[in-house]
Symmetry: C2
Subunit: 424 residues, 2 copies
């Protein structure tokens, strides 16, 4: 993690608080609207300071305070035909740090989120194995457990933006992503138990829901870092995230992270099922579909300011923050531009930069109140640089849904309002 103490203290680096000094005669509070001599919120005893608050048995399982009720997953009704085969979006505009709480982490279901108890849970391994096996949930808990943090991004994240700037909010343009700390067992340990035959080259994974959402994973990836997970962010997976067992496929598209994992089958070739042929393939300019785009390439986006988070405080010190990630490893650098990509400034990476996990960046600027065209670009440990939308369109065209990792532009107006735009 970064050292939060690395900035030297002692000198005052900002002027915006000059007016908030307490004079001898009374308080002059607030850089903003609250400024008033003798601000009663600090000089008078308030109700909350003169009585009791909630007791410790008020909420055995706590929920967010009512003032944060806008920070929720949201779906877009016109996007899909049925809410049981649809998606909702993480409110990344309102989050900070790197962890996504399960309660607001985006959901994608192909036939709805099913309720499956641990007692009813079974996992079968069959196909080209020495010993086909069926595990109960308890069986799985007896294998060695591991902990890893990984982002899960829908292949269609940003998909509506191929044709142009459409959606006014980073929650909708880039919110098909979440980042959790998983605990579970390694797929390779399960495969070792069953014994993969030499001719076995592909791992086909299926869920227990009606869609089954079958996907083929090359054996190499399965043996590298794929996890059969039970816990996310310390607690059990929630129903909508695959309780009691989901697959975690670090760095690879979310559709492969099969929920309510029911079957693992070893084959000598890919199944080429619905989810990897008619869906989750990339339509190229020549009308042909490119398959096997599994890795989510390096990407970043500014989460604040953004259309849902305009600047309310006027000019002066402004915190610019966002998220960066790469399916190929660690994020090593994030640059931010305020002039639409003409000039770039390196942002600070805050906290960890874990491989294949969301990485938080911050840049502190002194905003002069003029318009900005905000962009961020991610560079990962392979040296890959996040492309512009134009550069991506040259290869991929605009007849696409999936795998848009291009640079996003926010137009910040002098009044602080922010719009999703494209710049030539």
């Amino acid at each position: 993690m970064s050292d939060p103490t690395s900035k030297a203290a002692g000198t005052s680096r900002r002027g915006f608080l000059k007016t908030t000094a307490l004079g001898g005669a009374g308080l002059v509070a607030g850089a903003g609207a609250a400024a008033a001599e003798g601000d009663p919120l600090i000089t008078k005893v308030q109700d909350w300071a003169s009585g009791f608050g909630d007791p410790v048995d008020a909420a055995p399982y706590g929920m967010p305070i009512r003032f944060e009720s806008h920070v929720v997953r949201r779906n877009v009704e016109w996007l899909t035909e049925s809410p049981v085969s649809s998606i909702n979006f993480t409110p990344i505009h309102a989050l900070e740090g790197t962890i996504t709480p399960q309660g607001v982490a985006f959901e994608r279901h192909h036939s709805g989120a099913i309720e499956l108890s641990k007692d009813d849970y079974r996992l079968m391994i069959n196909g080209l194995v020495e010993k086909p096996l069926v595990f109960t949930f308890e069986d799985l808990t007896r294998f060695p457990r591991h902990v890893l943090t990984a982002f899960c991004e829908c292949a269609a994240n940003g998909g509506m933006e191929w044709g142009g700037a459409q959606l006014e909010g980073v929650q909708f343009t880039q919110g098909m992503i979440h980042n959790m700390e998983y605990t579970g067992i390694l797929l390779k340990d399960l495969l070792a138990e069953a014994g993969v035959k030499p001719e076995g080259k592909w791992v086909y994974v299926e869920g227990a829901d009606a869609s089954s959402n079958g996907r083929s994973i090359p054996l190499e990836k399965a043996m590298e870092d794929v996890m059969v997970a039970f816990y996310a962010n310390g607690e059990a997976l929630r129903k909508e995230h695959g309780y009691p067992v989901r697959l975690v496929v670090p760095g690879w598209e979310g559709n492969m992270w099969v929920k309510w994992l029911r079957r693992i089958a070893i084959y000598d070739q890919a199944v080429e099922g619905r989810e990897e042929t008619s869906k989750y393939t990339d339509m190229m300019p020549d009308g042909r579909a490119r398959k096997w785009t599994w890795v989510m390439d390096a990407k970043s986006v500014i989460t604040s300011p953004s259309p849902q988070v305009p600047i309310r405080h006027g000019k002066g010190p402004l915190v610019i923050t966002g998220l960066a990630w790469s399916g190929n490893g660690k994020v090593t650098r994030v640059d931010v531009s305020t002039d639409g990509g003409n000039t770039w400034t390196e942002a600070r990476i805050s906290g960890d930069a874990k491989p294949k996990a969301l990485t938080r960046f911050h840049l502190d600027i002194d905003w002069d109140g003029s318009e900005m065209f905000l962009q961020s670009r991610c560079i990962d440990e392979t040296g890959y640089v996040q492309p512009t939308k134009d550069a991506l369109r040259e290869i991929r065209g605009t007849n696409n849904v999936y795998h848009n990792n291009s640079i996003q532009t926010w137009w910040v107006q002098p009044n602080g309002e922010v719009e999703n735009v494209e710049i030539a």
Copy 2:
């Protein structure tokens, strides 16, 4: 993070699943009670596989599935006189990994959890400063933000165990602890804005609740790594954790992590208020109280198996897991004993071992079904070794409430039941 791929695959390391192989004639499923030829849970289409589950607009903010309703904070009524000046306990027996979700993270209030909006929030800095200041919430959001993960442990965690093994559950014996990823600003940046006068040596911090919970922090610590936090685990702090602003004092006792932070005053000496004299001091054998025990020393505990998590699956492969932490830095090693401390085996550290943060450990054993006296001991980067309870009592006696970081013993019986015991 640890490399989840570091274990070599290919060889079958366990025999317990020998009976779960699928024969040619039918399925023989499960190592446990579910074993049955042709187990319908894997051979028959179930209800959840033949209809729709929940749509994506079912839960804008999600909650745990109903099967996990036992994983909640619990209070102990006889422990305190009033539930508004009391504590509840994190269900660490049922959690995994390192993150504690806010919804189950223990609470300690001195006059209840208050509801304070961002609009009503003010933070004053006064005392020995060049320029007394009052900040609105928005003012605070304009300072440089940082991200860090830290454990928060009540000084009284384990306090009921000084006199003997009392409570049947790790949730109650060691559950006054949580671990979150915080985002906020550095206290030293706020102090720089106000300008600490040369004679200022102590930082007195107070909350906006009726108790005010004032504590004195040496200036050196305030300038090192203390954070004024707004977010925990990616989202806003919850009401019971100090919304909208709490102090994070990495490695130091939880009582100093003031919630609903209202005032920061610089003085030339400690205030020596109620919370640092009559409370949160250590009663020594000679009847005198030792003050200024701020750092939470290295500690660990096995969370499973434990009294609330008996072994149900019988002998064979058993995952032993627990948590380790140190207020002095990183955990470098955790040892586990199955024979009450006569012999020790080094456990695996899973995921990160961040400084001043909860660290997860695992040890995989082949349990022969005989009784065990399970213990864990933590070693941190300073070389400090977690003491036995006897060693701690030699110095501290038994007339204590606070700062018990001694080794915990669980007696695992041949039937798998687990009890909290002391061994001579």
